[in-house]
């Protein structure tokens, strides 16, 4: 996806890591329990506008729960969450965020284009505008030729790109991604990582990204948040100072290996590796 | 509460609700003289028909009727119906056993031979879309013309046919359900076709066989009842329903007989379902998605 020409142009346009502005997501002392199980224990986290924050940790560390609390799909048991300066509920009804799940979660009965149109339909856009926007988004994920196909006719990677196009269709301030590439093979995954960075650069959307792949987290993020399970809490936040634009060469830099090692050491230090 | 317990309570609640609705309708129709109030439009079903005959009894009346003599005097309706149930169950059992065996054999043949499958399977499928039960009078009258067969065998033949179709389809589906990797594993042991059939495919098919047998258990009862009413001077539950239905002042007995027929259907299905649970539990295997 990221052709050399394109990345060359976007060198200067790489989103700056802003720390000063009001955070897009602010999580303050959030605890969430499911019956006896404490899924999140006193978690605090800021996500600055334009940043790309990965939540990483083993199964049961509460990373998906945290994402759902931010998305107002789950309520915190205690603590406070602010999304785009509002309550998560208000942010959800204002459609301030788009969401991508591990499964593409496309509607089998809709064509690719009409899948991308779905949120726009719910927001009451008229047909012409919807169509134009969907085509624009399909161009962004390079699936223009597949607009009239049905999801079942696409590969897993392509389906996930449709899901990304759908999540971004209404230009949300925030993109929440729950292990979006977790079910894909390694090669497809690396390609989609590059593509996602390209889209992020173009749209300047803030991203919260849940993954259990250390290389993926380091490659993509401005910050990697390492979490530990039982109860789920934040171990450490590691800023990723790799140069941008990032491309396949990034994965061969010494600094990249240092950061991967740092994440791994954090997990090992907590007895998780 | 356990899932099963809640299911049972919901089931009872809904059946009780239906009984209440039944009684409410009855009371309403009696109060309004079978008319929608304030109009001269009749209700769909009158509580009393022509000649003041009862045709919408209290829910408990058919049950009570089982304990009373069913005509003039002597034998109670319950005792009479028990005899008819025995007669009908013989047909059901014969039809079910023969139909299941035949279906299993044909399904196995189809699993073995692509040619047989392609030649015959379309007809097995098509036969599911046509009202095969329409043959009932033809089969029963035909069998009855054969001196050497007892009278109930024609009805049993109809039941057999109705059981055999779902059994064939589900046997074939079941024998094909073993994963390809397991089949490859067996081949890697150089297992013969028979060994693969008995050690892999038949065990894999067991849950499907029960799906077919559960459909068959119900179909056998339907076949027996329909078979019994399609020839003159028959015996059994179907014949009893038919004759009570002909006489309009016997409606409580008609309801009671229909109720008993329903219970026979449920008993037939439940027997196979219980057997299924016992067998699948013994194998501790997972069944197909229901």
């Amino acid at each position: 996806m990221t052709s050399p020409e394109e990345t060359a142009v976007t060198v200067e346009a790489g989103p700056p890591v802003v720390a000063a502005a009001e955070p897009t997501v602010a999580v303050r002392h959030v605890t969430r329990t499911f019956g006896e199980v404490t899924a999140l224990s006193d978690v605090s986290l800021d996500v600055a506008p334009g940043s790309f924050v990965s939540l990483i940790g083993p199964s049961g560390c509460g990373k998906s729960t945290l994402l759902r609390v931010i998305a107002d799909l789950l309520e915190p048991s205690s603590g406070e969450v602010v999304v785009a300066g509002k309550t998560p509920h208000r942010a959800r009804t204002d459609r301030d965020y788009g969401m991508v799940f591990q499964k593409a979660t496309l509607f089998d009965w809709r064509t690719v284009r009409r899948n991308v149109e779905l949120p726009l339909e719910l927001m009451g856009w008229d047909r012409t505008r919807r169509r134009a926007r969907a085509d624009e988004m399909l161009a962004l994920v390079e699936l223009t030729d597949f607009a009239k196909h049905r999801p079942a006719q696409l590969s897993g990677g392509m389906q996930q790109r449709v899901a990304i196009a759908r999540a971004l269709a209404f230009s949300p301030k925030l993109l929440l991604m729950d292990e979006p590439f977790g079910a894909l093979d390694e090669i497809t995954r690396e390609r989609l990582n590059l593509e996602l960075l390209d889209i992020w650069t173009k749209t300047r959307t803030t991203v919260v990204f849940v993954t259990h792949s250390i290389p993926e987290a380091v490659f993509l993020s401005t910050d990697v948040v390492v979490m530990s399970p039982r109860p789920g809490r934040v171990l450490r936040r590691i800023p990723v100072d790799l140069p941008r634009p990032r491309d396949t060469g990034t994965r061969e830099l010494d600094r990249y290996f240092e950061l991967v090692t740092e994440v791994r050491e954090t997990l090992r230090g907590a007895g998780l590796l | 509460m356990s899932r099963r317990g809640r299911t049972a309570i919901n089931l009872v609640a809904i059946l009780a609700g239906l009984a209440v609705l039944w009684e409410a309708y009855r009371a309403f129709a009696l109060a309004t003289g079978n008319m929608w109030p304030g109009t001269d439009v009749a209700l769909p079903v009158a509580v009393r028909g022509s000649g003041n005959a009862q045709q919408f009894p209290h829910v408990w009346e058919p049950v009570l009727a089982l304990g009373r003599p069913y005509r003039g005097g002597g034998e109670t309706l319950g005792a009479f119906l028990l005899g008819q149930v025995g007669y009908t169950l013989r047909e059901v059992l014969a039809g079910f056993v023969l139909g299941s065996l035949l279906g299993f054999l044909l399904g196995t043949l189809f699993a073995h031979s692509r040619l047989a499958e392609r030649s015959l399977m379309p007809y097995v499928i098509a036969s599911q879309t046509v009202p095969f039960i329409a043959f009932a009078p033809i089969l029963v009258v035909g069998f009855n013309s054969l001196e050497s067969f007892p009278r109930w065998s024609g009805v049993a033949a109809l039941s057999m046919y109705l059981v055999f179709f779902p059994m064939t389809v589900n046997t074939l589906r079941g024998l094909r359900s073993a994963p390809a990797t397991a089949e490859e594993l067996m081949r890697s042991y150089a297992a013969s076709w028979w060994t693969r059939l008995w050690k892999l495919r038949v065990p894999a098919a067991v849950p499907y066989l029960f799906v077919g047998m559960k459909i068959g258990a119900t179909a056998a009862v339907v076949g027996a009842i329909v078979g019994e009413l399609s020839a003159p001077s028959s015996q059994g539950l179907g014949a009893a329903i038919f004759s009570f239905g002909r006489v309009s002042n016997n409606s409580v007995q008609l309801f009671a007989t229909t109720l008993v027929a329903g219970l026979v259907g449920i008993a037939s299905f439940s027997t196979v379902a219980l057997l299924e649970r016992a067998v699948l539990r013994a194998y501790a295997g997972a069944g197909p998605a229901r």
Binding site: M99, F101, W109, L154 | I14, Q55, F132, A136, L254, I266
Partner: protein, 261 residues
């Protein structure tokens, strides 16, 4: 990007119709020969040629019989399916119904519902078409109810979460997610019901009623020793059943194009 996609919905290669057609031909010929050579009595099995001759000669009567029985089947099919869908859809609103109606459906699925035909004859009149329609509708009702409940519950949790993330109102969730997700199940019930409705209509005929119905002819002609006439009526009824099933299958292909058949 990734490998070329599969264009067009993947379908199994249609199996050659030749073996099946040859079988039909062979069976018909063998049937004819056996009947003639062994001189089998027509009460047991008439020759196919005799059935065909009667069929052709009796077309007006057969059409009349199909109209009488067919319209009861069709009306009951439509009303029972609508009723089953309505109750199934209503059940998604109330948990007691949602959880209680499935076992109710299973119980009634095991019951020979066609045996209620005399009750409906009693209630609605043996000579009223509505008594036949009611039996058909009742038979068709339960499979549709169960499949509607199952179908409306078939959307995955992540699809529901997606709709929630869009803050979609309940009405939209139903129209855009639950309803389309249920369609394959609804059509599954319709296919079963197409066959069941003809069965219920003809059994209802057997219990008495219309003089011109298919069931009446099958039963009476058999009693009057007009065996080929009875057979021809069954053949006509089977053709009607296939037609109805085919119509539903066609409607399904048109309405649920995303499902491989």
């Amino acid at each position: 990007m990734t490998a070329a996609p599969v264009t067009g919905v993947r379908r199994l290669r249609p199996p050659s119709a030749l073996p099946a057609a040859l079988t039909a031909l062979a069976v018909l010929v063998a049937w004819e020969v056996v009947v003639r050579v062994l001189a089998i009595r027509p009460i047991l099995l008439p020759a196919p040629s005799a059935i065909a001759a009667t069929f052709v000669a009796d077309v007006p009567r057969l059409v009349r019989a199909l109209v009488v029985t067919g319209r009861a089947a069709l009306l009951g099919f439509v009303l029972g399916s609508l009723g089953g869908f309505a109750v199934g859809a209503a059940a998604t609103r109330w948990r007691v119904l949602r959880e209680g109606l499935i076992p109710v459906g299973v119980v009634f699925g095991a019951v020979p519902i066609v045996a209620t035909a005399p009750i409906f004859n009693l209630w609605l009149g043996a000579l009223s078409i509505w008594s036949n329609v009611a039996v058909v509708a009742l038979v068709v009702f339960f499979p549709m109810m169960i499949n509607t409940i199952t179908g409306l519950a078939s959307a995955s949790d992540s699809h529901r979460e997606l709709m929630r993330s869009y803050a979609a109102p309940q009405r939209q969730v139903f129209a855009k997610l639950l309803l389309p997700a249920s369609l394959p199940f609804v059509f599954g019930a319709l296919r079963v019901s197409a066959a069941l409705s003809v069965i219920a209509a003809v059994v209802s005929d057997f219990f008495g009623g219309f003089r011109d119905s298919a069931g009446f002819f099958i039963k009476t002609l058999m009693a009057n020793a007009d065996y080929t006439g009875s057979w021809a009526t069954v053949v006509a009824l089977c053709l009607f059943g296939l037609l109805l099933y085919g119509a539903v299958a066609l409607a399904e292909r048109w309405s649920v194009p995303w499902k491989e058949q």
